[in-house]
Symmetry: C2
Subunit: 374 residues, 2 copies
């Protein structure tokens, strides 16, 4: 069961309020999905995620395929049971990580060959294989294999890459359909096309021709300048059907979320809140707080006076700073609780703003608070 319900469209922007119904639970959109790379959202307990209001998490196929192995996870009852998370899980295809983390051997029509960063062994990810892996994991929302070229490739390369991604999508769909009836999960399509307007347009048009239950927008988390990124996002979204959820992959800051929501995006994942937390960078309604700073040495205030998270209810900035410098595990944990709580609260407020016809106002307040945060 997978159904997207479009609840409301903002009158002045592309922002949408929606609800995704799945057999493992309902997801209010726009939604932020915390990243649980290796079968755990780093440092966080399942119950903490639920308390914060998490309705879906993302898991990384690349990491779980290499360790502990998708076959092992399948044999143990699937990823939900393995990691004690019963709500929906979205999995990526592993492709993006091959391009960003592994030592890439080659990209061929067949798929991508790479060396494992865990043990140096050689692996081949094909469109069929990534579906099989995600099936073994028990994914609720699967991604097809796509090529993620760097932002500075030539038009010729981008065109070839876009075509390859489309041929791979066709093979993913074919593999997916083999067991469609038995699956709980659905398969999204991914729009690529690099930073070329017409290729974005073509990629979106040919991807939606597969009539899939949702669409991802890929290739926009790679550090191109923001205005260009938003332009590519806008073109992609303009083609995508209104009645399917849209997922912008791996982006980004609260400011990015707003810009993307304004262009019609419904789903986000990003490691920024969790990674920043471990580095002592806290997101608050008042802006960015770097807990390492000397000024917080004996500061008795919570990270944010307006925050209701566990960390802010019980601990001072002085304590958080102490834990950070003492390299205590609790530092990562308390900071991550805070940053994730912030993100979920932020998305709740964002949804409420759309509901109450004041999304534009909300967005401009937030943009000024977070200017300069990348």
């Amino acid at each position: 069961m997978f159904r997207f319900e479009l609840l409301k469209k903002d009158g002045k922007s592309g922002a949408r309020l929606g609800r995704i119904h799945t057999s493992r639970g309902t997801i209010e959109t726009p939604v932020f999905m915390p990243v649980g790379t290796q079968g755990t959202v780093k440092s966080i307990l399942t119950e903490e995620l639920l308390d914060m209001g998490a309705e879906i998490i993302l898991a990384n196929t690349f990491h779980l395929y290499l360790r502990p192995g998708d076959d092992l996870i399948r044999d143990l009852g699937g990823l939900h049971s393995f990691m004690h998370w019963e709500k929906p899980i979205l999995t990526d295809s592993g492709g993006f990580q091959v391009f960003s983390l592994a030592s890439l051997n080659k990209i061929t029509e067949q798929g991508v060959e790479f060396k494992s960063p865990v043990d140096g062994s050689t692996h081949l990810l094909t469109p069929e294989k990534v579906i099989q892996i995600q099936r073994n994991l028990g994914s609720d929302i699967m991604m097809p294999l796509d090529e993620c070229p760097p932002p500075d490739v030539t038009r010729e390369y981008a065109e070839k890459s876009t075509e390859l991604t489309l041929r791979w999508l066709e093979r993913c769909v074919a593999e997916y359909k083999k067991k469609e009836g038995e699956e709980k999960g659905v398969l999204f399509g991914i729009v690529q096309g690099g930073f070329f307007e017409d290729l974005r347009q073509k990629s979106a048009e040919r991807t939606i021709a597969f009539d899939l239950p949702g669409y991802s927008i890929g290739g926009l988390s790679v550090g191109e300048e923001k205005s260009k990124t938003y332009e590519m996002l806008e073109i992609s979204c303009s083609v995508l059907p209104e009645d399917r959820p849209r997922y912008l992959m791996g982006v980004g800051t609260p400011g990015d979320f707003l810009m993307a929501v304004a262009r019609g995006v419904d789903m986000f994942d990003c490691v920024l809140p969790t990674r920043n937390a471990r580095n002592g960078t806290l997101l608050t309604n008042e802006g960015i707080l770097r807990i390492r700073n000397a000024e917080y040495r004996n500061d008795p205030n919570p990270a944010s006076g307006s925050c209701g998270c566990y960390t802010c209810r019980h601990y001072s900035r002085a304590y958080l700073r102490h834990l950070y410098y003492a390299k205590e595990i609790l530092s990562s944990h308390l900071n991550t609780i805070h940053n994730l709580f912030f993100m979920f609260d932020f998305m709740r407020r964002l949804r409420k703003a759309i509901e109450e016809d004041r999304f534009g106002e909300f967005a401009s307040d937030v943009q000024s608070t977070y200017s300069g945060y990348e």
Copy 2:
């Protein structure tokens, strides 16, 4: 307020059942005190400690004095408030850590001079200073400065050291008495005397002459052979008054606890359960489980089938092994939850065994389960 209530003495051994009443809560003895070295029991949340039944924790004066500083903690309302722990805290004097962790410059009549492992700065801990630091922390049970010589020193050295510790105790008591009325905390004495029977005896006799509300037994966590250690413990305990709690410092394994309880010890602290957890070594009723081992690769069972802890209720050995190798923070957290839960459950069962006149039976069962675990 500090009062020790001796509830029961075992008929066949020296084991005792007791209760320590403090203004911050009651402590059932024999008690295990988790170690919160730097203002946190590593990886564990306060609420988790409370759920497990923790009634007191230990904090390390040496670490907190160096970072973030006892003056800072005092200014922020004391250690309890700083670390969000309202139940009793026992603090050591810092002396043991100076001998084991710092680069020691010299021991003089005045105190111990050492170099900080944090920043290389030179510090002098005197008997007066360690009381002042513990007062700043807001300790409920303070320790006096003592010398902790290695187990292999000459009789001459041990004799001089025992005398020095006694002179330091006198100065600690004098410093403590300056503000006795304003304090919530109490000061224990520490029995030293190395591994010489008559020095142990003399140290115990002259320490109890100070008529303190409780006594610690020091110098026995230093790796001398077990039989010798137990002998020294027995001599120490035989001198100590029945109506005061006895605390064996920094020892040890479940087996050690039993041997010490049988000789009349009431209080224990040890980093073993928490440190072992982070190294993937789990304590269970069925014995030691090394989660790293290949045999657990795809093991769907919990760490212990007889354990009711959060970790065992939700996660398989395969998952714990995966987290360990993936170097996930959650690995330390889940393993520590398990090991601490085990320790608290173990102490509850131990107390119940004393209550029901079957301590000997309980002890021999446990000894065989944990033989070889050091």
